[in-house]
């Protein structure tokens, strides 16, 4: 069977792609003997187009990341950058703790962070958060840092000295950035379950 150079190339390209998807390590490749002319040809083509395929693979991975759900592993605080950690520290100073990370989605991946009030913020909490904000301004720059400061400043302005405080804050980073604040009255009636618990406690104290 005679194969022209053109038809060999056409055959080798998909094969090279397949080989790239399951590329053995360099040591394995050296140790294993040649598996015939087809394999050798494919290796040669794959070497020739190696760099181009690397780029294509990166593009492919990026394309997949737009389609496949996000992995939560990439968004846990341990994997975040210094600027993001400074933002979380500012939120903690203001009494808001990072409680949930939602990652998922399909065609449009979805990642959101949820901060919940871990304590009723005091004047000292707000003073500390304001101080952290000042330090953050002198340490971090860029649009991301500006957005972080804007969020913390909003939390402070909404809660400080008012009748309401930020009870929950949700920040979406994918598919597009958005922020949602939930403000709750400082003085509000307790819900039914809490009231029952309180009454039970009172009764037990009376006994």
């Amino acid at each position: 069977m005679h194969l022209s150079r053109r038809s060999l190339n056409l055959l080798a390209l998909p094969l090279a792609c397949w080989l790239f998807a399951a590329t053995p390590s360099a040591a394995q490749a050296e140790a294993e003997p040649s598996r015939g002319w087809l394999s050798d040809a494919a290796t040669a083509v794959s070497n020739g187009f190696g760099s181009a395929l690397d780029g294509a693979s990166a593009t492919l991975r990026t394309a997949w990341s737009f389609v496949l759900p996000e992995a939560p592993f990439d968004f846990v605080p341990e994997r975040l950058g210094e600027s993001d950690l400074a933002f979380i520290a500012m939120m903690q100073a203001a009494g808001l703790s990072l409680t949930e990370i939602e990652a998922g989605g399909g065609l449009l991946p979805d990642v959101r962070y949820r901060f919940v009030a871990s304590r009723e913020p005091s004047a000292a909490d707000y003073a500390r958060a304001a101080r952290a904000l000042t330090l953050h301004k002198s340490s971090y720059s860029g649009l991301r840092a500006i957005a972080h400061r804007r969020i913390v400043r909003t939390v402070l302005e909404a809660g400080e000295g008012g009748l309401y405080q930020v009870e929950m804050l949700e920040i979406a980073v994918r598919p597009w950035p958005s922020v949602r604040y939930v403000l709750a009255a400082r003085e509000r009636p307790i819900d039914v379950a809490d009231r029952r618990l309180l009454e039970a406690l009172r009764e037990s104290q009376q006994r």
Partner: protein, 339 residues
């Protein structure tokens, strides 16, 4: 009562006497009203700045300070006589409170910073300086800290109870260390309960509270402590006391920041707070009332009060840079002269 006038050498008649009597009666009847429209501003002294009231020397004819738990809230309450209110407080004035005040009191507001109050951790001069952080201070000296967690805890000379320095130690140092070091479930959720829980100092023999007394007595106590302090001893003192004892004690950084004037002005030193003067001027305030408030405001912003050698500096409040002090006076003039 104006004297009865003689007309052509005649004695005052029945009509003259009647007018005088009427004038006297009207004077008595409307005396309270005339006082109600007094142009003098009303001065409210917040509980957070109660110790500073005496330092703000005012002219003899100026009204006295009225102590109140929340001076800004009191000043922002609409008053029927429309008097101008001036409030002295420690801490910040949130934008929301400012906006609410303008609406509730139908007034314009101006908030000026007079200086900063700070707590300084010191060691006797010549001793090694060990940088401190809020968590380490809480672990070593906080009553709520689990025992045995402090690494090489020394001793602390704490401020006298109820002083501004004590308030700063509790709110800005111990409480921060408390919420950072303890698990969330171990710290009270409510702000007031948390403040009491976290700010309590250890009852052990590693904490010695200073006796309450005058400024001179306080300085003498610290001097005596510095002369006999064991290794690892630190003292929490006010900025004024540190200035008085330069050379005797050395400040140590808290959370990596030293209590320098620049750091205090930038607002990055943790154990500090601003001293504020808030003016609440009803839109209906008369020009004489505005003039009187300007006089009082100038007396409060005089160099003798807010300058580096002023009475506030003597109470441990750092003075602002000269340009900022001048700017504060100009802002007050602009504010009170604006229609």
């Amino acid at each position: 009562m104006p004297p009865a006038t003689k007309v052509n050498g005649c004695r005052p008649g029945v009509i003259g006497r009647g007018v005088s009597a009427l004038a006297l009666a009207l004077g008595i009847a409307f005396a309270p009203t005339a006082q109600a429209f007094s142009p003098q501003p009303v001065l409210h002294l917040d509980a957070s700045a109660a110790a500073l009231g005496a330092a703000l020397a005012l002219p003899a004819d100026a009204p006295a300070w009225r102590a109140t738990p929340d001076a800004l809230a009191t000043a922002c309450t609409a008053e029927p006589d429309g008097a101008i209110r001036i409030a002295l407080l420690a801490g910040s004035v949130p934008r929301l409170r400012d906006a609410t005040c303008r609406r509730s009191a139908a007034a314009q507001t101006l908030v000026l910073t007079l200086g900063h109050e700070a707590l300084v951790f010191v060691v006797p001069s010549g001793r090694p300086m060990v940088p401190l952080d809020s968590v380490a201070v809480f672990r070593a000296f906080g009553a709520a800290a689990p025992r045995g967690t402090a690494a090489a805890a020394g001793t602390l000379l704490a401020p006298a109870a109820g002083t501004p320095s004590d308030a700063l130690l509790g709110a800005m140092v111990l409480e921060h260390g408390c919420v950072t070091a303890l698990p969330m479930g171990a710290v009270p959720h409510a702000a007031a309960a948390r403040s009491v829980f976290c700010a309590a100092l250890s009852e052990g023999n590693n904490v010695v509270r200073r006796r309450p007394g005058s400024a001179a007595e306080g300085v003498a106590q610290i001097r005596a402590w510095a002369a006999s302090a064991p290794a690892g001893a630190i003292a929490a003192i006010s900025l004024a006391e540190w200035i008085e004892l330069t050379g005797v004690v050395t400040p140590v950084p808290l959370d990596g920041v030293l209590p320098t004037a620049a750091n205090l002005a930038a607002g990055i030193y943790p154990a500090s707070r601003q001293i504020k003067l808030a003016f609440v001027v009803p839109r209906a305030a008369s020009q004489p009332a505005r003039n009187a408030a300007l006089d009082t405001g100038f007396a409060l912003l005089a160099e003798a009060v807010i300058g580096p050698l002023g009475t506030l500096a003597g109470r441990g409040v750092t003075s602002l840079p000269p340009a900022t002090r001048v700017d504060a006076r100009l802002r007050l003039v602009d504010f009170l002269e604006a229609p």
